[in-house]
Symmetry: C2
Subunit: 412 residues, 2 copies
Amino acid sequence: MAFNMVASHAVWPMENDAIFGLAAKAKEAIDKYGKENVIDSTLGALVDDDGNLICLDTVYSELKSLPNAAIAAYAQVAGQADFLEAVQDACFKEYRPKAYIKAVATPGGTGAVRHSIWNYTEPGDSILVCDWFWSPYVTISEEFGRTVTNYEFFNDKGEFNITSFKEKFESLIDRQKRLVTVLNTPANNPTGYSLSDEEWDEVLDIAKEKAKDPDNKIIFMVDVAYIDYADKDRRKFFAKFSNLPENILILIAYSMSKGYTMYGMRSGAIIGVSSNEEIAKEFYYTCMHANRANWSNGTRGAMSVMTSIAKDPAKRKAYEEEVAKYRTMLKKRANAFVKSAEECGLKILPYRDGFFVSIPCNNAKQLSDELIKEKLFVVALKKGLRFAVCAVSEDKCKIAPAKIKEVMDRYK
Amino acid sequence: MAFNMVASHAVWPMENDAIFGLAAKAKEAIDKYGKENVIDSTLGALVDDDGNLICLDTVYSELKSLPNAAIAAYAQVAGQADFLEAVQDACFKEYRPKAYIKAVATPGGTGAVRHSIWNYTEPGDSILVCDWFWSPYVTISEEFGRTVTNYEFFNDKGEFNITSFKEKFESLIDRQKRLVTVLNTPANNPTGYSLSDEEWDEVLDIAKEKAKDPDNKIIFMVDVAYIDYADKDRRKFFAKFSNLPENILILIAYSMSKGYTMYGMRSGAIIGVSSNEEIAKEFYYTCMHANRANWSNGTRGAMSVMTSIAKDPAKRKAYEEEVAKYRTMLKKRANAFVKSAEECGLKILPYRDGFFVSIPCNNAKQLSDELIKEKLFVVALKKGLRFAVCAVSEDKCKIAPAKIKEVMDRYK
């Protein structure tokens, strides 16, 4: 091509999404060899033991029984008022922080991450993200002319690396005076790690120290996409967001994709938590403007489903029981994987909750390619392999670690 | 507030959407005085004579009969392959241009407009829009640090003002060497105007002249949000996008909001049309990157509905007949409004197709406020009033012009 029609900031490699590509290959293998002979651990969606996407009955029977107008009508730009209440309850449950809190509807968690980075950083700023991360954090940052700085998520003992966090956090805030830090916890994608309450205290103490300089603007983007599959007490950290200094703002990316199995409905929210009423208000109007300027308003039917379920105690109970059933299923699968890994000596990162387990290695792409020959499909990351326990039956979770170990040993 | 937490480019007035606010007032009046006594012409959605939102049966019976997984699953980042074919057919029908054409799914037409402005202009650029415009064009431009330049849509004779278009187009392209021009036609919001085929020729001739300079990059964003309510031959202009110079790129914002009454489902597409295969490819990958970085992927259920209907001749026929029924209803209402306006001497802009009629005046806000007292709710624009025939029965469309004229005369 002799020239670009797109503007200088909008030239990108002409490539397709790697994970979707791998998932397509896995599907081909299933068609060829039969699903009993293939382990497809690619996509981050909950799948039953027969390989079918799990769609919560309580959610879809509600969606399909809504009056058409509750799906068809435009939502308010910021989201329906009752949804914006319900989504805060769904997120915080009994651990709502004592603070000024506002919410704005977004398409999934992605919309919330996007709003955080666009609205709370200056062009050229660097965003702080750990070195085991969901790759769209980088895509989003780069799209808007921002960069990403990584700290090491784990130290040599396999514990949360507070030293690395502190070093990078302090050098970035000193240089930029404004910093968005992404924390994808609990049930981190791709590792399944969840910060403990003590680790949260350490993180917030470091931030509070830096908040003593009133020129510093400290923003935490807490991505809780997988929170509904974490243990109940994994929400306790929310209460720590009470009474923070005014120049620490908490943004929470809440997604209906996983907790409501509504991946394709594109619904979620960004929730802003501040000790200062005006900062919370500014958050609301800035995100509303960004909504109008990017996608206009959110998916009304998904909002209707959440509020209908929230308002009806019987529906709510049924929904929560259905989620709990799959949370248990997921836990069994993950336990099986972790136990087998231990037995065969496969080193994995500390798993706590959620859809994924990660296996550190230096040659992830090579191993992923080799594992395809073994009919095991696993996503290659920069620092290792991501195994999606959400997508693989307990039986297969038991046998997968030994297969991975065997191929790793072959390429040592 | 002593300081902003948001970045400097993300500070916006703390205000709610004016149209939604007026719609809420109209609803209050209906509750108080009864719907037969109120004319609510605020929202741009098709409403039946009883004031209920029209939700196409053929669309919602299809949505509700889809397997849950066809709603629940993530869509591909660029959109499902069969949807991207179907949406081109839905847009062009028999007037598909001979060119390289690619489509990418977006949340409604807004997502497509947003991608056009973000990807095809440089920071600080000005976008060309006529002076009767959908206000989010400005919201979107400002969000991204772009400005809007207006040309006059109509000359003194009430015809399309090609002289004003030419003057502004040429001065902007000479200065910027890159220009995104928005054309919201057919069935313009807010005027109901549709460019004739001859007017399209004049516009394209002006562009082709400027395209002789190979350094000029000329982009037309054609917003066809209301096209399914325009006459059949209003699609003819699409064929003019065949064999354009390589430095003229056509982007089309197609929305499922109106044609499928799926406002709240947030589905549409941006369609790129170029004589150069590489430019079309660049368009596709740039918009795919922007999808990933803003909302990840589109609403799967809406895509499923469009493709299911497109693939089944009986469903397609039923859908088209249902739309045609409402197109006729709309035409009757608009004809009633235009005829009454003529009879009472209310000056309106030339209406051709679509949801709205506009009434030019200098004191729109004052008139809109006064009309509220008459229980007539109509949106105030900078240059006049917007009356939504889509939302008002034929009987009320007959009586509204005289009411408006009366109040206008009072404040002359």
